[in-house]
Amino acid sequence: MKPASFRYARPATAAEAVALLAASPGETKLLAGGQSLVPLLNMRLVRPAVLVDLNGARELERIDAAPRGGLVLGALVRHADLAAAPLVRERAPLLAEAARHVGHIAIRNRGTLGGSLAHADPAAELPAALLALDATLGLLGPRGMRRVAVADFFRGLLATALADDELLAEVSVPAAPRGWGFGEIARRPGDFALAGVAASLDAHGHARVVGFGVADRPVRLRAAEAIAANARHDEVMPARAGRAAAADCDPASDVHASAAYRRHLATVLTEDALRAAAGRLRA
């Protein structure tokens, strides 16, 4: 359980990190919080020649207000800080709530927003919350920053739109709708969710319902969204949307839960999340 040898660097800026990536393309890994990468290193499932530690690049720790009620978050924001930051709780409470559900306290103290996104575990909370919030990611490469919608970022199990020479630098979150809901079911507190749902709902009938742990990436549950958007004033909307949720899920069966059970959870969690979202919209 010891990593194979690697060379380690801790640059002071994101630009230096990008230069280091370019110096050894394909055999370099970026280290942020290390809560997913270091286990893989310890088990030698990943054996990079060079490890570039981003923790020296303090510019990536930003939690800033953006115009029109949005947020700009650096990739190095820790889950614990995301959950506690007054600005995040005020402007994107769905994201703060999702962060509270990641792992355990010691993991939230180290694990980062960018790390969770770049790792792209399909059962992770933050990718789903950011898809529900229609966030945009800033990917920094040798030719500068390019912007990618979260919807286009996840490409499958542990696969993303990041190129070998790019690092995920920041996350832009637009003003969040007032209605939101979040829930997940895990076998034990802190485990990855068997299934979860993040939902947002605004007064104009825009709804986003995102399932996680129910496909190879976070997915919008579009049939549920359509019901939530069209019948948002209807008392039975959450139950109806919940029944429609399973249609957009494509879960796997594994040792933790069957596909059928995960579909069932998506139904229940969609109903709960939309009831919470509709309640907050009315409040």
Binding site: F6, P39, A106, I107
Partner: protein
């Protein structure tokens, strides 16, 4: 610290209040540095992939898995281990509560439990049972069933608020 990738690096950190300067391979964990190089074997290593919580230490006051932190990443940090939480002449009130409540059997998880509980009591002086259980959810104990551990943390919190409170 270093912009040129290297296999061995020099780290400077503070461990339990003492400055430490040490050259170490980049691939070795903070737990390796503490246990093998500094002889601080109170930090226990269980799973080595961040699941069991036995190796939990405080890094700049916040709990962290020392098996998931490279020693070189602790450069410049203030690290506190179970040794640093133990008074020279006996037990801390939290440790005393663990003993009084028989909050351990084999004791392997206990250092991690004490470290995690220390962080909890620093941020939440009067935690209820749910808060204690959440704070300790990342620390596995294969012996006790957790009941006495939760009781010990609650007792330590109560004693701190009122030294006369009953066991």
């Amino acid at each position: 610290m270093t912009a040129t990738p290297a296999e061995r690096l020099r780290v400077r950190l503070t461990v339990n209040g003492e400055p430490v300067e040490h050259e170490i391979e980049a691939r070795r964990s903070l737990a390796d540095l503490l246990r093998e190089d500094l002889g601080l074997t109170g930090t226990h290593v269980g799973c080595e992939h961040g699941v069991c919580g036995a190796c939990t230490v405080l890094v700049d006051g916040r709990s962290a898995r020392s098996c998931l932190l490279l020693a070189v990443q602790a450069d410049g940090a203030r690290v506190t281990t179970i040794e640093g939480l133990t008074p020279a002449d006996g037990l801390s009130p939290l440790q005393e509560a663990f003993r009084a409540c028989h909050a351990m059997q084999c004791g392997f998880c206990t250092p991690g439990m004490i470290v995690a509980s220390t962080e909890l009591l620093a941020t939440t002086p009067a935690p209820d049972e749910a808060a204690i259980r959440e704070a300790l959810a990342g620390n596995l104990c294969m012996c006790t069933g957790y009941v006495n551990i939760v009781r010990a943390v609650a007792q330590a919190a109560a004693r701190r608020a009122d030294p006369e409170s009953p066991a």
